[in-house]
Symmetry: C2
DNA sequence: CTAGCACAGTAAACCGCTTTACATGGCGAA
DNA sequence: TTCGCCATGTAAAGCGGTTTACTGTGCTAG
């Protein structure tokens, strides 16, 4: 591969000149410019990024850590981040922590070694302080989708409270009063906020919340399934369920189908996320849509601003939207 | 950050010694080793990967190019590759081409610049020779899931022919004779092979294939939808459809639902891939499962072998498995 | 007694680019 | 005429490692 020096020699100038020319740090007369351009073309010169990075200390790369890249929600988020990064000439290192705390820690440490310019972090489990401590030492971090308390960095979240509020209101408007909630780990911000939205809607309607119908566990299909079974096994049954993720809703749907409880006939259900499959399941799922593409895009934008020192801590809340499909029916009919 | 020289100074040896010690290229007496280890611990030394890479020319990173990381099939594949890469200490650069030829070209070129050690390539559109030419110039490439004719590199594919054969056989065994196929772009290997499997099954059963019921287009929901509509609009209708991807099948399902054609009552359907949502749709989809995790794992393994020069061109075919659910019924009831 | 060898390292070049500080020539102004 | 300055560059020192070739020093074998 041709190097900068080769180009310089070919063009009859010094490597310095070529370097500075390419980085717009020098004004050269037309003739010289032409010679350099010609040499570059002739030798098919492409700068060695490794050398450039070592020299400048900037990598033009970011790290993206996701809980599970195979999960469509995170995959879409990742795709959006990647697309925006690419637009700005940034490469993205991806790591999938598979819900493993050790791997999260690893990913952050490795980020240090990879010398990426920044990190977009997603997590789906409550932090015990480990992550917060680790992230505090790093400069360019933005948190996406889920909070890690105690780190002061830009954050991009959605209106969790609003979303759950709207979902619950929809159920109440359909005549439901016995409403259960199935959600993720109690320590997670999104879980707390969605629960708060639920409580607010219930409160405003003057309905007492049954605490034993608030089932917190994991944002997973399995937990959705198990929680629904538990609900069905109880003395009294709710007539509607707010599942705080579409994965949970899917699990619920499976349990209900297995128990031959008709949806929405015998049980109404609303999800959260609006994953691609939400409209494909039976029945098509009424759910709260998160603006995934916008979230990813914005997260990268924030990170870039951070890298360029034009940004400090900010918190953005993106609006969500209730998408009404077929999984909610009027109570009793 | 502490450098190698800092460590050397602290330990009272030369940087060379430390470097060689860390890379197991020298035997040092216990005393010296201890001093170096102590210095490393004291200074919290972590080697600068950038410098190491520039120096050695090895990056311990690979590039993964996928058509669409937001697509669960590719996302799962990517997750599997990432997991295996991580096990071996490799980082992975991800790029999503969004079905754009220019972006594919870009990704490959950039790979050259990023100086990654290798590339795992997935594509979902026929190559006009551009990619083949580009890839020929690069050493460490493995093709995953789909072929690019004319490049002699390791490949990891599935038994496409077998899969379609089994799917078709299932339909024939259920009494169907009027079977249509909806598939991806005609130029794609997977499309050809799946079609071949279909023809073989039909041939063995002595059924004539209706060429106008072979609908080739894109591996997308939209095309599945449109193709199904076209099928329904015809003079005669098939009683069963082989959709060569689950995305296609979903589209078909939507079109059929809209036209109030019951599945599997009025129309049987089998998909391909066994994406996570396949069992969640209505009715749960009978489909051909691809061993996604194994594909990803193997692709990385092959690439690693290639990087270490212990491998040349190989082609692996992973077996597929017919997963019977509820979307196929006996013909006539 | 000495040649030779193993041991325990080291000096210095190099990977390819950036950047700081400096150089040269010509020209305008005093 | 001379000074200074602008335009047009250049030399060389990094960035932080790796690697090749080499050096002392002591010990052993002959």
């Amino acid at each position: 591969m041709a190097t900068l020096s080769d180009v310089a020699e070919e063009a009859g100038v010094s490597p310095t000149a070529v370097s500075r020319y390419l980085n717009n740090r020098i004004e050269l007369p037309q003739g010289t410019r032409d010679r350099i351009d010609a040499a570059i073309a002739k030798l098919d010169y492409r700068p060695n990024l490794l050398a450039k990075r070592l020299s400048t200390g900037k990598t033009e790369a970011i790290s993206l850590v996701t809980p599970e890249i195979g999960n469509p929600f995170f995959a879409e988020l990742a795709a959006a981040v990647e697309a925006e990064a690419e637009r700005h000439g940034y490469a993205v290192y991806m790591s999938s922590t598979r819900g493993d705390r050790a791997r999260e820690v690893d990913a952050i440490k490795r980020l240090h070694d990879q010398h990426v310019d920044g990190l977009i972090m997603m997590t789906n489990q409550p932090d015990d302080g480990t992550l917060a401590r680790l992230l505090a030492r790093h400069n360019n971090v933005v948190l996406l989708d889920e909070d890690i308390p105690g780190v002061s960095v830009p954050r991009v979240f959605v209106e969790n409270e609003q979303g759950a509020y709207a979902a619950t209101q929809l159920l109440i408007a359909a005549g439901h009063r016995d409403i259960a909630v199935i959600s993720g780990p109690g320590g997670l911000m999104s879980v707390k906020e969605r629960l708060a939205g639920f409580r607010r809607a219930m409160g405003e309607a003057g309905i007492t919340v049954r605490e034993d119908w608030l089932l917190l566990g994991q944002y997973s299909r399995e937990f959705g399934h198990d929680a629904a079974e538990r609900l069905l096994a109880g003395q009294e049954r709710p007539s509607a369920i707010v599942a705080c993720s579409d994965y949970l809703a899917i699990g619920v749907l499976q349990a209900l189908r297995h128990a031959e409880v008709a949806v929405p006939g015998d049980m109404s259900l609303v999800g959260f996320d609006d994953m691609p499959f939400a409209e494909l399941v039976d029945p098509p799922l009424t759910t709260v849509r998160q603006p995934v593409a916008e979230m990813g895009r914005l997260a990268f934008t924030r990170l870039l601003a951070l890298i360029n020192k034009t940004e400090t801590e900010t918190m953005t809340r993106l609006p969500v939207e209730l998408v009404v499909r077929k999984s909610v029916a009027r109570f009793g009919g």
